[in-house]
Subunit: 420 residues, 2 copies
């Protein structure tokens, strides 16, 4: 199979390296892959990988798209504008497309599904788009085909998991771990895509489609990132036998609707996700036939991501990966609501009647209080304390918080985390 | 695709139930599966599942094998004699074969590989054979195709993991947990296949083939089951920040050979496998591109196992699963040796000079002692104590133990466990 590669960066270079070292092994297994053209922005730039023998380095993607001898287009340039044009053109020409571009897929999912369906000669594969080296796309496509997923949750962003693990294990501050993550190249500057949870949200949107058959527009998913997490939260987490993780969560509600959210969460230490630290990702899938299965592995990195790209390329070369890349469609209603128990951290100026007021507000919001927790008071003008709730809704919690911020002793917007 | 099912027991019934409830969903995804015949020993026996509409219940497998309208044979009868004849006949006829029969595959792997190769029209799939609901076969086939696995280790037997978890968490004795596992139907009577590690060994043999391309005859794999594990070992485990697990392990040695063993092991609490309890299975795969990925899920059970069978059936119906079912062949030399650190529990009658002798024997076996551990002595005639070693070999440890048992104060054969 003749391949045109778009993008000669970290992952593209990893793909070339894997094909160079493992090409014979792949061929032995029936996957003959030859990169015949690489399209890069600057053809003169020295690359940190070996250009495959006989491969032409080009500057114009048309040179690949209009080459009828090229069967497969591997898009690893990133971005959602030019990359989209290239992918749409490749699909329209019946080429096999392999990509790791999660933002592009999440933003254009129904359009991509339609386009692939219209030209059955081609195919569209994207294992690398979600959680780097974890074969979660393939697993959802293969192992849940006769099953019914009821919930999916996981650590879908390695950068924030690295940061939260450092805070949990070393007691480092948010600012320090962000600086370290930036220095190590894990976080970009500005780090919003990671720390606000937007990267995880794209991945969750794709997983919702595969697991539940429903397209959930990213911007409709409630998203509470890690920017307000402080060491205080880890102290309370310790009291609660929990740790703090940024999770993407989607689960079927008893009424047949689906709830999806990305949130910094309090995760019980008995939950397998609590022990997954550093840049690792981890996805937990609960279904009718399998109960809970957990898949963990590297969420990013040159060879982990490139490995998923190569796995897709090999699958397609061996004749697989055809059909609807997003499996099936359902008409499940998605509600922007989170059901469950919550952790709410308030910061107040110490005084009389605060708990009485909170009790009244909770009652008015129909929230049953599970516990009030407080670590030692250091500064009476800035007293953090925590309320945990019994099962309720994020709407109810938000209503309570909106009322509480109007109280004169309230020092900042309460921090809300679901408890998992 | 017209299917003949051999076996109407737990898993066979689960397959029928899944196809009944999820058949339309499978068809929507391009997998039309119709069970047209079920072969059972006693056609008159009432089944605990609904016989599919239009399906004939037959007593003779020939009725399926010789029916040219049947495309796929799903073997779920178990056993290694009649089942083998049936599978070989189905393969020879170019039918697609799906099975969950790990003992049969492990015992006949090269023969099966040859037979499938000889008739390219058919295929052979066996996701259900290893670790029930975990899609480890598919993952090794798909996600490691361009990678190089360096080690694979895991909890491959749910029954013993249930038992060891109970001992660890509740402090229950071996005899009590075995009785409970038998009562719950997890352990058979006699429980040898589980507790001696033979079931895990079959699975490890199959995983060795997929991960390393090498056929390792089961009987050549050193196998140390859980029958001698006592609560003392959990006390030492606690001291060592470990727990006790039965693991199947295969890893490449620096000299290019492969070591494989099934052993009761001391597993550090930092190792993800240590937190996988109950009847769950868990496989950890380390490779060049992905570092370590971990997959956990139900190791057994009607619907978990049947789900893997249905996943294979759907894959084949959609045109996948063709080609060499065991991927590739290599000529790696397998050595019946275990390299690493070891835990050795001795039981002695208390006396003078025991440690001095042990020190001398360790020196003679070229073993560097890491620590000598002892919990409080309760009975001076039966004193357990533990030696942990630095990196060495199982051969050296066995040599030391063989010498030690000759000492007059030695009360029983030392218990050896690798430390992971």
């Amino acid at each position: 199979m003749r391949v045109g590669l778009i993008g000669g960066g970290t992952v593209g270079g990893g793909v070339c390296e894997i094909l160079r070292t493992r090409g014979a092994h792949l061929a032995q297994q029936g996957a003959e892959l030859q990169i015949v053209k690489i399209c890069v922005r600057d053809v003169a730039k020295k690359r940190d990988f070996e250009i495959p023998a006989g491969c032409e380095v080009v500057g114009d993607p048309k040179s690949i798209l209009e080459d009828d001898t090229i069967d497969m287009v591997v898009e690893l340039m990133g971005g959602v504008t030019t990359a989209k044009d290239i992918i749409m053109a490749a699909i329209a020409k019946g080429k096999h497309v392999v990509t790791g571009n999660k933002a592009l897929i999440a933003a254009n999912l129904p359009e991509l599904q339609q386009a692939v369906k219209a030209v059955p000669a081609g195919s569209f594969s994207y294992e690398a788009a979600v959680c780097g080296g974890i074969p979660i796309i393939q697993t959802l496509k293969h192992d849940y085909v006769g099953d019914r997923v009821t919930s999916i949750m996981g650590i879908m962003n390695g950068t924030t998991n690295f940061m939260l693990s450092k805070m949990a294990i070393e007691g480092a501050s948010y600012d320090d771990v962000l600086a370290e993550a930036t220095k190590l190249g894990y976080a970009e500057s500005p780090p919003d895509f990671d720390v606000e949870g937007w990267d995880a949200r794209s991945k969750l949107a794709i997983l919702c489609k595969l697991a539940f058959g429903v397209h959930v527009p990213e911007e409709s998913i409630p998203c509470m990132g890690i920017t307000r997490v402080s060491l205080e939260d880890f102290k309370y987490a310790h009291q609660m036998k929990c740790t703090v993780k940024l999770l993407g969560v989607a689960s079927m509600n008893p009424d047949g609707t689906l709830s999806a959210h990305v949130s910094t969460c309090m995760v019980h230490l008995t939950n397998q996700l609590s022990g997954v630290n550093g840049v690792l990702n981890c996805i937990s899938v609960t279904s009718e036939n399998l109960a809970t299965c957990v898949y963990s592995g590297p969420g990013a990195g040159r060879f982990a991501t490139a490995n998923s790209v190569v796995s897709d390329m090999a699958m397609v070369a061996k004749g697989g990966g055809r059909g609807d890349p997003f499996l099936f469609n359902t008409e499940i209603k998605v509600v922007p609501e989170v059901n469950g128990k919550f952790y709410i951290r308030f910061t107040v100026k110490d005084g009389i009647g605060i708990i009485a007021t909170l009790g009244r507000l909770a009652m008015e919001s129909q929230i049953s209080i599970d516990a009030i927790l407080q670590v030692a008071i250091e500064n009476p003008d800035q007293v953090p304390f925590v309320m945990t709730t019994d099962t309720t809704t994020l709407s109810a919690v938000n209503k309570l918080c909106a009322a509480f911020v109007k109280e004169p002793y309230c020092q900042e917007k309460p921090l809300v985390m679901p408890i998992m």
